[in-house]
């Protein structure tokens, strides 16, 4: 896609060079993870321009607070996706964002949301066909709410009208399915 070759490093190399603030580290990080992180961000922040702002903020934050990451706490992506999700949620809850939304006409909102939904769901339609078959719809909806939309499992239980225990079970079962699928 890009003119240059995308840079890719092992997670170990990546963490090491990020600690040393090497220029190549942030480039590799961007090439390896920007699309995955943007997938999460753009499901929470529908407006593409704002979602891109959030992605930029995410990388800046990763770069500056990298000292707080330790491999003991889990995988690098787990840490990064939490940063991205929190920044995205902060953004849609912020005053600026709410004011911006108030300025749009109601009819336009319906249209623009439809448009944006299409772009958001495009990659999903392209890439995950076989995955959809392994993941049951009720598992997928919960995982997507919590992982992509930033709901807590308590909020997801409310949203879907399902008991908390069931939510936890389905989350776990769904992720088990994913593990099987990717192995």
């Amino acid at each position: 896609m890009s003119k240059k070759h995308k840079i890719s490093l092992t997670e170990e190399q990546l963490v090491f060079s990020l600690r040393n603030h090497e220029k190549i580290a942030i480039e590799a990080l961007y090439d390896m993870y920007s699309a995955s992180l943007f997938g999460v961000i753009s499901r929470i922040v529908i407006d593409t321009a704002i979602a891109e702002d959030v992605l930029q903020e995410t990388f800046v934050k990763i770069w500056h607070s990298f000292s707080s990451y330790s491999t003991e706490k889990g995988r690098l992506f787990t840490w990064m996706v939490n940063i991205a999700r929190n920044l995205a949620i902060d953004k849609i809850r912020s005053k600026d964002f709410k004011n911006q939304n108030k300025n749009q006409e109601i009819e336009n909102i319906v249209n623009s949301i439809d448009e944006q939904r299409n772009t958001v769901y495009k990659p999903e339609l392209m890439g995950v066909k076989d995955l959809v078959e392994t993941l049951r719809p009720e598992q997928k909806s919960i995982i997507d709410l919590v992982y992509f939309k930033g709901y807590t499992h308590v909020e997801a239980a409310d949203e879907l009208g399902i008991p908390l225990g069931t939510i936890k079970t389905r989350l776990r079962m769904g992720i088990q399915q994913l593990r099987k699928h990717f192995n």
Partner: protein, 273 residues
Amino acid sequence: MEDIRAYIETGILELYVLGDVTPDEKLQVEEMAKKHPAVKAELDEIGRSLELYARENAVEPSEALRDRVMGSILTNLADDNNFPEKPQHVNHKVVELTARKESNFYKYAFAASLALLVASTIALVNTYSRLKNSNDQLVAMQLQNQHFSNRVNLMDRELTIFRDPSFKLLKLQGTAKTPASVVTLAFSPAKQKVIIDMGNVKLPENDKDHQYQLWALVGGKPVDLGVFDAKTDSTDMKEMKSIALADAFAVTLEPKGGSVNPTMDQMVVLGKF
């Protein structure tokens, strides 16, 4: 091992990877992962599968964004590299300091105003007590001043009387009843004035129901010249009722306010020309 398995099956590790745990739960999971390799392995597996799931759902941001992100980070990096120390640390410290500086300013400002308040309160109390001292001294001086001016006035009057040749001084001596008593008075027939020198009155102090009354004897008849009190500390020159002629003067102790006729057996002093 059973416990670990049960712990894994609670689903807390999934919630941890999804970022949906309380800070306490977060610490607990990290603690468990440190102690038990099985927990750490499980965490990594869950993380990996969700990472791959995110990759399946990836959305490419616009190509221009890459340069924008790199620009914003690498501009800062260039700045960071100007510091001799590790840029990462310096950068963190700078961010924290700006945040702290602001709160420090208010802290110091608050402390400074508090110190100022205490200092001015002390100064105020000091000044107030000094002012009070000065006021007290001033009042004392005024009293003293008044006292002196009274004395000067009195002496002035005494002098005028004693210098005036028309005044005759008469010492009324104690009667048999009160031999120690003495009353000195000045009498000017020309000016028709009778003045008692209270400083030289030697009479027993009267109680509050009685007063001394001065009489003039004119042709053997007593004439009332007014009442007075005998106090040991009085210094005044007391002017009595006027009379032009008198053969003798006498003082009797009468009920308060005086009597029309002298009570003869209460006569304390008597003096004749």
